[in-house]
């Protein structure tokens, strides 16, 4: 009914809508790269069984670990997301070399590495994060430790292990 009415109203609007639908179908079938505003709305649809171990980010401020219970969900995301992004720098840079450079070259689109590659400037990041965190905590941050600790799933709970690395060492 919608399409019938639309094609009678303005055929070019109909063609635009059909094109929109076709592009979305194509993006879905490719199941990989997306193109704004054509996204995948998977919402945890890939199989995700419990793992034996997990890498968990920890923020220690003045020798005390920040607790998720003390923050609203968006505040906790604000605290964690920059650390996730820093930890992801290697994967980000790999994406450039494995896909961005290749695909951009195939369509004659410039993709200079300086626009995509992130350098591991941890001291700069930590300096920014310290100031950023103090605005969320509403108090100064004197000592800051950002670590990635391995937790094992044992007896239905995540148990900490001695495997811990500084966030700085996750960036290569």
């Amino acid at each position: 009914m919608y399409f019938k009415q639309l094609i009678r109203y303005k055929p070019r609007y109909f063609l635009l809508v059909v094109l929109f639908v076709l592009v979305q179908i194509f993006i879905n079938l490719k199941r990989g790269m997306v193109l704004t505003p054509f996204f995948h709305y998977g919402m945890y649809s890939q199989q995700m069984p419990p793992q034996k171990s997990y890498e968990v980010l920890e923020v220690w401020v003045d020798r005390k670990k920040l607790r998720g219970q003390d923050f609203l969900p968006w505040q906790w995301d604000k605290i964690m997301q920059p650390l996730v992004y820093f930890k992801n720098i290697s994967a980000n840079n790999l994406l450039y070399y494995s896909n961005v450079k290749r695909i951009s070259a195939a369509v004659f689109l410039p993709a200079d590495s300086t626009d995509f590659i992130i350098n591991c400037q941890y001291p700069l990041f930590e300096h920014w994060y310290s100031r950023y965190l103090s605005t969320i905590l509403k108090r100064p941050v004197t000592k800051l430790d950002l670590v990635v600790r391995h937790y094992n799933l044992q007896q239905g709970k995540l148990q900490s292990t001695i495997q811990v690395q500084h966030l700085a060492s996750t960036c290569r």
Binding site: T36, Y41, S45, Y54, R67, D70, Y96, V100
Partner: protein, 256 residues
């Protein structure tokens, strides 16, 4: 806007020094201009970026009531600013771009200046929102999340690992662990969410149940927030498309 500002989620409040390259070709085109690096190097401009994004809707509304011709161009400007802002915003440590699809598509509605065009765009937005929900259910079939009995346990562990390990004695942590360890119960939650998403297919055939779909979506958002601590409030404008879905095609030549 007020919620975002009070939550410190404006770009000038976040002032991010780091970005992430998504697997999104449109984002690569944007990044090729270097605008994200320019913003990082010139933090004084964050506030103007926020200003343009959040104030344009109000300026559009003012122009609309003063004279339609000006509002038409402002709506186009709003579309371009929204695309630029959201594409940049989601490069930084904020939220996923999918949750901002409303910001990307709704300005198209305001570019129209005939009632019939408005009707077709609004109906199109309605169908697009229905597609989002139904596709979420379909992906769970196609990518086989539905066939993993421990799916929700795995999802909860992944989503909440920082919360579970930082707050081991909190009641919410205990609730999450209960769901994780009672995988059959948590699987039923996952299955119910999938069925709720699939229910939206009814909207493709009739608009009679649109009010129920609005209620279903609000329930979905609340459950998502409580169980997953995910907040997709910015999809709520699509409820307007459902609410007005009952209206029929306006007569010819009717103006906005």
């Amino acid at each position: 806007m007020v919620v975002k500002w009070s939550g410190g989620l404006f770009l000038f409040q976040l002032q991010p020094p780091i970005f992430n390259t998504p697997f999104n070709f449109a984002s690569w085109v944007l990044m090729g201009t270097g605008i994200h690096l320019w913003l990082i190097s010139n933090p004084g401009y964050w506030v103007w970026f926020d200003f343009a994004f959040y104030l344009l809707p109000a300026v559009y509304m003012l122009a609309f009531f003063v004279g339609q011709k000006r509002s038409h161009f402002l709506a186009i400007a709003m579309l371009l600013v929204n695309w630029l802002y959201i594409s940049c915003y989601t490069l930084f440590p904020t939220n996923s771009i999918e949750s901002y699809i409303g910001w990307l598509l709704f300005p198209v509605l305001f570019i129209t200046h005939q009632m019939r065009s408005y009707y077709f765009v609004l109906q199109g937005l309605r169908y697009f929102f229905l597609y989002i929900m139904v596709s979420a259910a379909s992906w769970k079939l196609v990518q086989q999340g539905l066939f993993n009995a421990q799916q929700m346990s795995g999802v909860l562990l992944y989503q909440h690992k920082e919360m579970l390990t930082s707050s081991p004695d909190h009641w919410l942590t205990n609730a999450y662990y209960w769901l994780i360890n009672h995988w059959l119960v948590s699987y039923w939650l996952y299955l119910l969410a999938t069925l709720l998403e699939a229910f939206f297919i009814i909207g493709f055939f009739t608009s009679r149940f649109d009010k129920w779909l609005i209620l279903a979506f609000v329930l979905f958002l609340v459950a998502d927030f409580l169980v997953m601590r995910i907040y997709y409030w910015e999809l709520l404008p699509f409820m307007l498309a459902l609410w007005y879905g009952k209206y029929r095609l306006p007569p010819k030549r009717s103006q906005l």
